[in-house]
Amino acid sequence: MSECHGRGKTLHIDYSKCIGCETCEAVCGFLYDTPRIAMARTGDGQMIPIYCQHCEHAHCMKVCNRGALMRDRDGAVVLQPMLCRGCETRNCVIACPYAAFFATDRGVAVRKCDLCAGRRAVGLGPACAEMCPCGAIRFADRDELDELETEASREARDRVLAHIRPKK
């Protein structure tokens, strides 16, 4: 496995700029048949995209018994379908704190965002970030994440996390 440069890249969504228009999900679905970024409706009716944050210390990588989740040279956590194939545990789906693994009913058991690996290989960025009408999705260096946060984005993010991980 190659080491990634610096702390690598990731996707960042500023939920305070997001209007829930579903363009990210649509473009992802167009490119990959089944989208790897998915809209959810919160209890109070907001539409929010759920996405992989390519965590620096990724739980999914730790719980995958087959080593099917690897860090690529840009820092993306990518799924190796040949290793994943046939795994029924779906440990990754359960472990992901952002609900960004999606179970499938055919072929490999799960699908996840790979930051548009095929596009990155030819110098393009993730399609969702390119097409977001609001500029809410950024393909960012992990080092610049702090600069992207605002008071509004933190507050909006907390609302989304409260939906993903409801208090018991």
């Binding site: 999900e25 167009f30 109070d44 009716g45 393009l124 097409m131 977001c132």
Partner: protein, 363 residues
């Protein structure tokens, strides 16, 4: 990365010209997504739009604080400069109804027929959207001071492209009643507040929990001082003493069963739009909607495709984008196979079936 909505996201540079010309009618999200896809593949794309600038309702309907206008404009700029897309603004393609019937028609200087376009291009995609506002169907809707959501929102953005026949609805210091609870109703209420309305009252026939825009959005409006009345069914719009202008909204209160009268200077009925396709019958759009066509997104006129809200009715930007991309891809498949006389090899079923989890084509 540039701060643009990159419609040409498929490639960094366009493929070499393939000698094919495609006309796209409508420069909203579906038309621009289709233009980007085809531009990347080396098509010569001509985009026609009735408005003075490309962007459709992303620019002229949705307020700027939600979608930054310059982000759309930069994406359009890239399409035109780098991908050779030609934009023909203020050009209406032959409509099913007389000109000046829809919002935004008054911008059109040039009218061209669909037949002309079909002859001049290898293919055409119609992405003209849903512009006609749904009516409540109650007495008094024709009174002055009664607007549809689009009639109210459109001029607020359009007035920047200064033409004498567009003016912002006068709401300063007045009472505005907004009927509906979808996203455009929310935008109407926010805009009315921003334009200095004295009082903004939201009226919805069901409860806050059922509001299509979600209770979160409703709560934000209440936070900025709008009033929220739920389970109210509009019955009649009452005229003032001149009989010309609106004075109040009479409605049935679903909580008490009583009739109440709400004084209003302006009433905005924001309850959705209906598609306005040119040549609805000739194109056989009903069959395209049902999926009873031999080629995905192709109408009953050969080489003419259709995508976006004009097909599905009002939806969301994402659905329109998806539909535009699919129509563009279907169009390229069609022209490629046709060039080799292999149209019968097209596998419609494989193309049309959206797998579980994929955004659905029509809802």
């Amino acid at each position: 990365m540039s701060n643009a909505m990159n419609f040409a996201f498929m490639r960094e540079e366009p493929a070499p010209p393939n000698g094919r010309r495609v006309a796209i009618i409508g420069a909203g999200p579906s038309g621009l997504a289709a233009a980007g896809y085809l531009g990347c593949l080396g098509y010569q794309v001509e985009v026609y739009d009735k408005l003075p600038k490309p962007g459709g309702l992303m620019l002229f309907g949705i307020p700027g604080h939600r979608i930054p206008a310059d982000r759309i404009q930069r994406g359009v700029f890239t399409l035109s400069r780098k991908f050779g897309v030609n934009f023909h603004n203020k050009t209406k393609i032959c409509c099913s109804a007389p000109l000046h019937e829809e919002e935004g028609d008054h911008f059109s200087c040039d009218i061209r027929g669909l037949g002309e376009l079909v002859e001049e291009h290898d293919a055409v995609i119609i992405c003209s959207g849903a512009w006609k506002s749904r009516k409540l169907g109650i007495p008094g809707e024709q009174l002055k001071g009664v607007y549809s959501g689009l009639e109210f929102l459109f001029p607020i953005r359009a007035v920047k492209y200064a033409t004498s026949n567009v003016s912002v609805p006068p709401v300063e210091g007045r009472t505005v009643v907004v009927v509906g609870a979808g996203h455009s109703a929310m935008d109407v209420a926010h805009s009315a507040k921003a334009l200095g309305a004295k009082r903004v009252v939201m009226v919805y026939r069901r409860t806050k929990k059922e509001a299509p825009a979600g209770s979160y959005e409703v709560d934000r409006l209440i936070d900025v001082g709008c009033e929220w009345l739920e389970r109210r069914t509009p019955l009649r719009i009452v005229a003032d003493e001149t009989g010309q202008h609106v004075a109040a909204l009479e409605m049935a209160d679903g909580n008490t069963g009583e009739t109440e009268v709400l004084p209003a200077d302006v009433i905005v009925t924001s309850i959705g739009e209906i598609p306005t396709p040119p040549f609805q019958k000739e194109l056989g759009l009903e069959n395209v909607r049902k999926g009873e066509v031999r080629w995905l997104h192709m109408t009953s006129i050969e080489n003419v495709f259709v995508a976006g809200d004009v097909l599905t009715g009002p939806s969301k930007i994402g659905k329109a984008v998806y539909s535009g991309l699919r129509a563009a891809r279907s169009l390229t498949n069609w022209l490629d196979l046709k060039a080799q006389h292999r149209e019968n090899e097209y596998n419609y079923d494989a193309d049309v079936i959206t797998r579980p989890g994929a955004p659905s084509e029509q809802r």
